[in-house]
């Protein structure tokens, strides 16, 4: 009897598992389906001669170009330079932005001074100031990183101010009641409680840093992914232009994913870490 039961259970269990697996594979297949179609359409359109290779180089040619960039070392140098600028700018934004945001929420004068600057500066297209920054600082790393900081610091400041404002009063009251000093209150209560929203601000600032790094390189020239793309465009080398887009897209994708992972790691203690991941 026991044996019979086991076999039926086994017989039922196997197809069920297989069916579930098939569903998962089908969904995964559906998810990549449209991308595969898009890539295939690109290759076919490019080869069919509807467009000139200048307008639309074949996907295979673009991949080959990326491969040769990777082999001769250009890809590594350009990626490293772009990443260096983006991450240096981002680091400055993170430190200075959180500091300004904290100062604004603790000090009336700091709030009075920075609040209008942030509320006017945040929605402004700051990239318009790029020629001014070139005028002041030239076209090298200092100018590029300054441009990045100028652009990406606003979301960090705004998120920090909002985050600290949103910390529950009860938390602060009870900590104070239990004799926490101002310093302890800030480091052990307010900052941890505000950290998810500050992280959100940083998650906006990081891709922004990369975007500005690429635009600054395109406009100021020199090495880097953006600079290399502009050079290629000037020589009507459209295969390299398309290769540049793919390279920049991959770097952007990796940065965003890395940031989401860091958030999960850093906020492991927070209830949100147990919620299903969205990013």
């Amino acid at each position: 009897m026991a044996g019979l039961e086991q076999t039926t259970a086994g017989r039922d269990g196997l197809p069920e598992k297989a069916a579930r697996l098939a569903v998962i594979i089908l969904w995964a297949g559906a998810r990549v389906f449209s991308i595969v179609v898009l890539l295939a359409a690109w290759e076919i359109l490019a080869r069919s001669g509807t467009f000139t290779p200048y307008q639309l180089p074949a996907l295979s040619a673009v991949l080959e170009r990326i491969w040769s960039d990777a082999v001769n070392g250009d890809l590594a140098i350009n990626t490293a330079l772009t990443l260096y600028r983006a991450l240096a700018g981002f680091a400055i934004c993170a430190v200075v932005g959180v500091a300004i945001g904290m100062a604004m929420s603790r000090n009336v004068i700091a709030d009075w001074f920075f609040d209008p600057i942030v509320s006017v500066g945040f929605p402004m297209p700051k990239i318009a100031f790029l020629p001014v920054i070139v005028l002041w600082l030239g076209v090298y790393d200092t100018a590029k990183i300054t441009m990045i900081v100028f652009d990406a610091i606003f979301p960090v400041i705004a998120a920090t101010v909002l985050a600290i404002k949103g910390v529950e009063r009860e938390l602060i009251w009870s900590a104070r009641n239990m004799g926490a000093s101002k310093r302890e209150l800030l480091h052990q209560v307010i900052l941890p409680a505000a950290s998810p929203q500050i992280m959100t601000g940083l998650q906006v600032a990081l891709p922004l840093s990369l975007i500005v790094a690429v635009v600054a390189e395109m406009l100021m020239g020199g090495y880097g992914l953006g600079g290399a793309m502009m050079t290629a465009a000037r020589f009507a080398n459209s295969t390299s232009v398309f290769a540049g887009i793919v390279e920049i897209a991959v770097v952007g994708y990796v940065l965003i994913k890395a940031m989401a992972l860091t958030r999960r790691r850093l906020l492991l203690w927070h209830p949100e870490a147990n919620a299903p991941a969205t990013a």
Binding site: Q55, V132, M218
Partner: protein
């Protein structure tokens, strides 16, 4: 009135510091022309019509690109939330396209459509479509299932439900996505015009800077910055009006 003045006093102070630093030559006047000179150049640019013609072509590009992206993005996002097959087909493409810095597309749009209006409109359209689509999708997906069910049970057709329940429910998130798109449209416009253009704000900034008339260059830079800021504020007011029915 007085409160607004007090609130924006820091900006006024910065302007005064700028004027004094430049007047007393604490910094070189090429790097920072006095604010009053910048204002004078602005008036001159306005009077000889150069500022006006270039703003018209820039605003046309923004209007066309942004308008297209709002229409297409909203339809696409709501369709993705409403019909699962659309979602399965489009979502991976949006996901792949999302992290691409849109400014990286500038050289490609130029390769496709040349140096004129077309390439800028295409760039703004492609870039702004992403936040609009995501906003519409998130908003429509979050529309309350209870409302949908009750509307259905009371005999509303599927299209009726879509129009009367899902679309209004998606409004707040959609409008939020459009706000991001408005800011993005100015950024994409200026960066593409700075790189290649024969007219528009970016072109004007570039040519004035190359010609060494720095106070005029500052005037145009500040104009663009102000327009971007003003567009955001006006848009916020419109949003508040549109969503007045909610509370």
């Amino acid at each position: 009135m007085r409160r607004t003045l007090l609130r924006y006093l820091p900006l006024l102070l910065l302007a005064i510091v700028w004027e004094l630093a430049a007047r007393f030559e604490l910094v070189s006047n090429t790097a920072l022309p006095p604010l009053t000179d910048v204002i004078r150049s602005w008036v001159e640019l306005l009077l000889d019509g150069e500022l006006l013609t270039n703003s018209v072509s820039s605003l046309y590009r923004i209007g066309a690109g942004l308008g297209l992206s709002i229409v297409v993005g909203a339809v696409l996002g709501i369709a993705m939330a409403w019909w699962k097959p659309v979602n399965v087909l489009i979502a991976p493409i949006v996901e792949v396209f999302y992290p691409v810095p849109k400014s990286a597309l500038i050289p490609v749009t130029v390769i496709w459509l040349g140096y004129g209006d077309g390439s800028k409109i295409l760039l703004i359209f492609l870039g702004c479509m992403v936040p609009v689509t995501i906003g519409a999708f998130n908003g429509a997906r979050a529309s309350e299932q209870v409302l949908v069910w009750s509307a259905r049970s009371m005999g509303a057709s599927k299209l009726r439900v879509l129009w009367d329940v899902v679309v209004p429910g998606a409004m707040p998130e959609l409008l939020n996505g459009i706000r991001t798109a408005v800011a993005l449209s100015f950024i994409l416009l200026v960066s593409s015009e700075l790189i290649v253009a024969q007219k528009g704000f970016g072109f004007l900034i570039g040519s004035l800077g190359a010609g060494g008339s720095y106070s005029a260059m500052y005037a145009v830079v500040l104009t663009v910055a102000f327009l971007g800021f003003a567009a955001d504020r006006v848009y916020l007011q419109i949003t508040k009006r549109t969503l007045a029915w909610r509370d």
